[in-house]
Symmetry: C2
Subunit: 294 residues, 2 copies
DNA sequence: AACCGTTATCGGTATTATCTATTTAACTGA
DNA sequence: TCAGTTAAATAGATAATACCGATAACGGTT
């Protein structure tokens, strides 16, 4: 017994006629006869008494009819709800982000998105780039915003916004406008943990300039951007930090920016997701919003 | 989209595997693939992301799954409820009956039936045999109990119990043990209306004895057995009435029985129903009970 | 690079849904 | 009572599709 049988039955019941039903459903009358016969066999009871020119529903048909209608309705509702799920922008949005985008980009973008689509609820998870990327790979997150790419043919990266890393320090630690890389290795230096996108970017920069962090005078390795910033403010050493994160400290002259070899350290933030996973509709909409809004 | 698709989808979702589902459903894996593809096309969305060795349900699948289970369940319930309708003895029992069976037979039989099957509710409609039979023909009643048969190839009659019609009168009207038909025609006579089974039976009796009610001295035609009985008691005339209806009056000597030509007027009560209508199960059970109990 | 486990695709077969034409049955009206 | 009408059942044929086995393609593992 499937839905098709029930639809045919319902139509026959409604019109009390095989022929009328066949007209409504655009199916030939013998086909209707056949289906009703099959339904009767599968339910092991007669559904209509054939009286010759007319038919009459049996007690079983009376029981079946309302329930059949209900199921037919439910099935239509089901289709609509699935369609709704793939067209409406609502539901949970769990976004992973590394420190800088999670702190200085996402809140604003999430706010403006929620203003347009009030039925979404954000959950923003902040971890370093490596951890976020790993969670995406493990299907623990559907997408993330990170400051470093790892090589993986499973992942799809979309560039979102450019950021600049700047060398900062208190005047006591470094009181000059520029510095060469060679000289920098002698300065007490603060760095992030290995998984950090900021660190990754800086190390790429060093490599490009034939250098490595092993030459540096590392006074501390710290687990977050703000920890590094606080340490730098305290005069513990110099550090390379996203401009976004230190703009305030630069404005208030607590920290000073020092150019390295007169170069800029640029990096991109990326939206990262698995190539093969289809994103729920609210995620797609948010990703679009992100690309426009950054 | 039909139930089969939903069942396959539910199994795939449950195992997160096309192959496991194919094993559970005893269908080949390519068939599963095909059905999921069809379902995806008909819903116009992807339901599982094929990640290579494994699959992951999409947001749409998450929406679909619980609702699909619900509908599958509902459909099974539906089957059970239809089966229940054709096996359980419960519900309304609308029985038509002519005066004598409706008054002297049905109440007792209905009572004993309801004791065995408390979930039935009787509705007993009393009209004369002709009207009851007509209502059966018009599908206004599913069955009736009547004292006269009409010729119709649509109707099915089952004999239930034998009854006897007796000529009764007050001693003032008729003070003798027997009477001949010829003499009876001179006696003031009370009769029922045309549709009455009692009258039909009596006229058949007259015809068999080469007589007709037109020869009779009809003082009144009355619309019910009890009206005729009351009129007879009042001494308005003689009447032919079911023995069941006048037993009390005979016992109390209010009325006296007079034999006609030393003959007995017998008749049967019949269960009447349309040959082509299938009776609901409680009706079938009651009809069986009737035949046993009479 | 070779090997597994999983899904997709292909080509063919079996089933069944559907059609038209016709028959059967019951009611209608002359 | 009998032709005419209407509706459902049946028969015979065809088209759609459900299903299968074999195998390719793909990702992950060794």
């Amino acid at each position: 017994m499937d839905i098709h049988h029930l639809k045919i039955f319902a139509s026959v019941y409604k019109y009390k006629s095989f022929t009328r039903a066949s007209e409504e459903l655009h199916i030939s009358q013998p086909t209707i006869s056949e289906h009703i016969k099959n339904l009767e066999n599968s339910l092991d009871c007669r559904l209509f008494d054939r009286l010759g020119r007319s038919i009459m529903p049996t007690a079983e048909a009376e029981v079946l009819y309302p329930k059949a209608l209900q199921i037919i309705d439910d099935l239509e509702l089901l289709q609509e709800e699935v369609t709704a799920a793939s067209t409406m922008i609502k539901g949970k949005l769990v976004i992973g982000a590394s420190t800088i985008p999670g702190t200085y980009i996402l809140p604003g973008v999430a706010y403006s998105f929620k203003k347009q689509h009030p039925d979404v609820a954000f959950e923003i998870l902040i971890e370093d780039s490596a951890r976020i990327t790993n969670m995406v790979l493990q299907h623990e997150l559907l997408c993330g915003i990170v400051g470093a790419r790892i090589v993986s043919d499973k992942l799809d990266y979309t560039p979102l916004i450019e950021d600049e890393l700047v060398l900062v320090a208190t005047p006591k630690v470094l009181n000059q406008k520029t510095i060469t890389l060679e000289k920098l290795t002698n300065i007490p230096f603060l760095q992030r943990e290995t998984g950090s996108g900021t660190r990754q970017t800086f190390e790429n920069f060093l490599e490009k300039n034939n250098c490595t962090s092993q030459n540096f005078n590392i006074v501390a390795t710290l687990g977050s951007t703000s920890a590094v910033k606080q340490a730098a403010k305290a005069g513990l050493g110099a550090a390379v930090i996203s401009r976004m994160a230190v703009q305030e400290a630069l404005d208030s002259r607590v920290l000073k920016e020092v150019r390295i070899n007169n170069l800029k350290i640029r990096r991109n933030f990326y939206l990262v997701r698995q190539k093969k996973r289809t994103l729920p509709h609210q995620y797609l909409a948010f990703c679009l919003h992100l690309r426009k809004g950054c």
